[in-house]
Symmetry: C2
Subunit: 282 residues, 2 copies
Amino acid sequence: MRYECSWRVDVQKLPCLILVGLGLHDECGLTLRGLKSARDADHIFIETYTNYMPDMSFSNLSNILGKEPIKLIRKDLEEDSGRILEYAKKSKVAVLVPGDPLIATTHVQLAVEAKKLGIEVAVVPGVSILSAAISQSGLQSYKFGKSVTLPFARGRQFFETPFEVVRENKAKGLHTLMYLDVDCEGRSMSIGEALALIMNWEETERKGVFLPSTLVVGLARIGSDHPVVKAGSIEELRTYPFGPPPHILIFPGRLHFMEREALRYLAGASEESLESISWAKK
Amino acid sequence: MRYECSWRVDVQKLPCLILVGLGLHDECGLTLRGLKSARDADHIFIETYTNYMPDMSFSNLSNILGKEPIKLIRKDLEEDSGRILEYAKKSKVAVLVPGDPLIATTHVQLAVEAKKLGIEVAVVPGVSILSAAISQSGLQSYKFGKSVTLPFARGRQFFETPFEVVRENKAKGLHTLMYLDVDCEGRSMSIGEALALIMNWEETERKGVFLPSTLVVGLARIGSDHPVVKAGSIEELRTYPFGPPPHILIFPGRLHFMEREALRYLAGASEESLESISWAKK
């Protein structure tokens, strides 16, 4: 395959640090620009722990890049980033990062540290679950309010925020993107677990935010060759076979006619589950 | 360059409609998965009017794809989508779309129409300005509230929403992503024009939302080889040389310490402009 991809600018100057987004799910989410800039680098590092990349083939990635990237663990970036920056002081260094490179604070911090040392920094954006989940739901991006993460149960103080965020967004007719937690062993929360947690909370608190009939959109493996997008009531989705992670949820607010159509035809929502939500024609 | 990119699933079944995200700025934003799925299609269509792709080289794209995509104009998708769907009833059709395919309502509608006709639909996500602008600002994605578009002046009723959205988000400490309008001749609003419009509105309405010292982040040509990200006061950014479009704005809410560092080191904010905003340590 032939392709031309210009990379004309500042990062041509050595030394530099280039943060390259790997996109979602596997190595095929990489953009042509990301590929080119990693191939041009003297050293390629990769971390795959800030986002779960289930089907990533390290050997295929090495094939694509023409060399084997050096794997980083959490400690390398969070406690010992100086080592990478030493390389970037003397040569062109690419760090491959799942999703979009600056969505995670860890990489913002790395970029800031590099700048403080006078190192040139460039970023090649990647597909992020933030925009991909929103778009694949068929819901309109400008109608999303604040997003939130649902953590595994670890005591009450962790609990209130996600429910409060959904309630506040709903009160304004806005949709909520809800990330599902990953625990310290790297286990991702499933949609079934998340909805059980939510209904459990609602049964205790009785705030009336989540009913068994409440409309929700579940999304699994977005960006892969076998994504699942399914809209329905909480009751329906609790047992729906979404398959392996990563999973993510969206709680819709008020629906525009076109959004209703999208949930019906692209996410298989039944008429009944759509009835549970108020919707505005415009 | 060798690469392997599996595409195992439903879309192998003919016929189908595959919406492929082109990402930002030029053809090099395409992902390997997007490239593979377009090359596998019997017919490739492309539209480039829902997002501005300043450096897109049609001939380079044709080279990469191994065939010349058929250009679509607005009417082809909005009034005459039946023609594309006729192809998709009989063969594998890829439609290349700037950014992420389902962020624009036009393509959601196309996907819904296809499904109604029983056509298999697949989506290959692309880099969207939604996530890329948020991440490149160095601000934390979960602290963004509702986003909004600033339209060209066309009478008062169009005006209130963007200011109201920024005001409401700020009141809750949330950041606001503000898209800048494109007029019917395809001219994109610049950051300078946008800030002039905003200060003009503030001078008339005196709501106290925007002061000359108010912190704002301007972003130009995100996803290209020569992006500009600059944070500063409205007064500073009104005359800052951002270069050609596309431009986009972010109005920060409350800043975390790390966000403050990011604006300082990655977006060149002066200490003075950062002082104008309240910030919380966590």
